[in-house]
């Protein structure tokens, strides 16, 4: 199941005003709390798409408070166990999120406006390569990744596991899938 969250709607709800600029750390904390509350009743293991299409300005402090802390709290915060994907970012916004994620050594999947996916933040190159193979094939196991990337099977397994641990693919038995795959 995929849950889509419109950040502008959450922002308006969180601050009680029809704003479209995600700025300031205190606003970010309110927005994150609203999202965590919304997700608290949802089943673990579901993908959550954070839609920034209607957000005009995003500053670093707010990006850290909303995006980085949601990813950071994936295993412990209310609504834990969700996979986060980000969508609808402008170029500048993507850069800000990339930097705040790198600062915390985190990574997440961003869907570009043309539908292409890319990673924002920091992840091991082998995990990124494995993520790419999973995306291209629709789903993959260690054998396919080993073949495509010309890795030993054990290295392919490690790369897939690193991608899963980083939260950019999800695991179903011995197969690995993109986060938003049905």
């Amino acid at each position: 199941m995929i849950t889509e969250i419109d950040l502008r709607e959450v922002l308006a709800r969180s601050v009680g005003a029809p704003l479209s600029d995600l700025v300031t750390r205190s606003t970010g904390a309110k927005v994150r709390s609203s999202i965590e509350a919304e997700l608290s009743g949802r089943p673990a293991g579901a993908a959550v798409v954070l839609d920034f299409s209607s957000v005009r300005v995003l500053d670093c402090s707010c990006a850290d408070e909303v995006v980085a802390k949601l990813v950071l709290g994936r295993g412990v915060a209310p609504g834990a166990g969700q996979w986060f994907v980000i969508r609808g970012l402008g170029e500048g916004q993507a850069e800000e999120i990339d930097h705040v994620l790198r600062r915390r050594r985190l990574v997440m999947v961003a869907e570009e406006r043309d539908g292409q996916a890319r990673l924002l933040g920091e992840v091991e190159p082998s995990a990124e390569a494995a993520w790419r193979v999973v995306g291209e094939l629709g789903n993959a196991g260690a054998e396919e990744v080993a073949t495509v990337l010309r890795l030993a099977l054990v290295e392919a397994r490690q790369a897939l596991q690193a991608a899963a641990d980083a939260g950019v693919v999800r695991q179903a038995d011995d197969r690995f899938l993109p986060l938003t795959a049905a």
Binding site: A17, V23, G90, H99
Partner: protein, 299 residues
């Protein structure tokens, strides 16, 4: 006896130390006259620097200091249109003619002098810049629309320094004007407060690390160059880093004055000292961001 602080004829970042030296000479709770009658021009940094002085003097003495308005009619009108007198009246007993002006500013004033005390103010400031000034930034300054979005980010982060660290309110103002050494128009964001300053803010977490070297200059270096914050959370301290990235990309300049030091990241089009220490003390922090217009090719 009344102590007089002269406002420089051209009051901008470069002449700020002259004003700060006057401010530093005020002893005890002496009555102070801030004399701007001969002022011919003030940058946004100058205008909000005056307000910071007024705020600090009011906090120290409990009474409003005196301020003489610029004698030159056009200068006084410009200060009024920039929103200076509306806030100065809360801090100073103003002498001289204060013009009444229409609330709509001229096009060079992208944001009048605006108080910043909380997150709501930051939202309001960013919203107003995006709604009123995005077109001016792109059409007149030739800024890429992407730069305009980043401008809102930089403005927000600069204002948040006040909200998060000053311990008091401050002001922001945004204007465009010609920058002499560049020969082009620039947009200038000035943000200032009369709060505790960078050294005090960072002392608890950074003071020991620097030992005897700790002071206003090292505090500014730690904040701007090393990106440290008073919080131990590694996600903090990103605001100035974000501003730096933005200015790097668009060949802009940042300078921060706090206490007795001033630091600047100086682009190739500007001559300035990267770090100065031992300046006349001035309360709080004064931040200035300068984004130059895009150089247009000759037709």
């Amino acid at each position: 006896m009344t102590y007089v602080i002269d406002v420089p004829q051209v009051f901008d970042e470069r002449s700020f130390d002259q004003f700060a030296a006057g401010f530093a000479g005020v002893e005890g709770d002496a009555r102070v006259l801030v004399d701007a009658h001969a002022a011919e021009w003030a940058s946004p940094a100058g205008l909000i620097g005056l307000l910071c002085a007024g705020q600090a003097l009011l906090a120290r003495t409990g009474v409003k200091s005196l301020l003489t308005a610029p004698a030159e009619r056009e200068v006084a009108h410009y200060w009024a249109r920039a929103g200076f007198f509306a806030h100065a009246a809360d801090l100073f007993e103003i002498h001289g003619a204060v013009p009444r002006v229409r609330p709509n500013p001229e096009r060079s004033v992208l944001l009048e002098v605006t108080p910043v005390t909380g997150a709501d103010d930051v939202h309001a400031v960013v919203g107003r810049i995006q709604e009123r000034s995005a077109a001016i930034l792109t059409s007149e300054l030739g800024l890429d629309p992407k730069a305009t979005m980043g401008f809102g980010m930089a403005l927000s982060e600069a204002c948040q320094n006040i909200v998060e660290h000053a311990g008091t309110g401050g002001w922001v103002a945004v204007q465009t004007y010609s920058w002499r050494s560049l020969g082009r128009r620039v947009v200038v964001i000035a943000v200032a407060d009369a709060g505790v300053g960078f050294r005090h803010t960072l002392e608890a977490t950074q003071g020991k690390r620097f030992g005897d070297r700790w002071g206003d200059a090292t505090a500014l270096e730690a904040a701007l160059i090393q990106g440290v914050s008073r919080f131990r959370d590694p996600g903090r301290g990103q605001g100035l880093a974000g501003i730096r990235r933005y200015l790097d990309r668009w060949h802009g300049k940042i300078s921060i004055r706090s206490g007795t030091a001033r630091i600047a990241l100086v682009p190739s089009w500007e001559k300035d000292e990267p770090l100065r220490d031992g300046l006349p003390p001035f309360p709080g922090a004064q931040v200035q961001l300068v984004v130059p217009a895009v150089e247009r090719e000759a037709p």
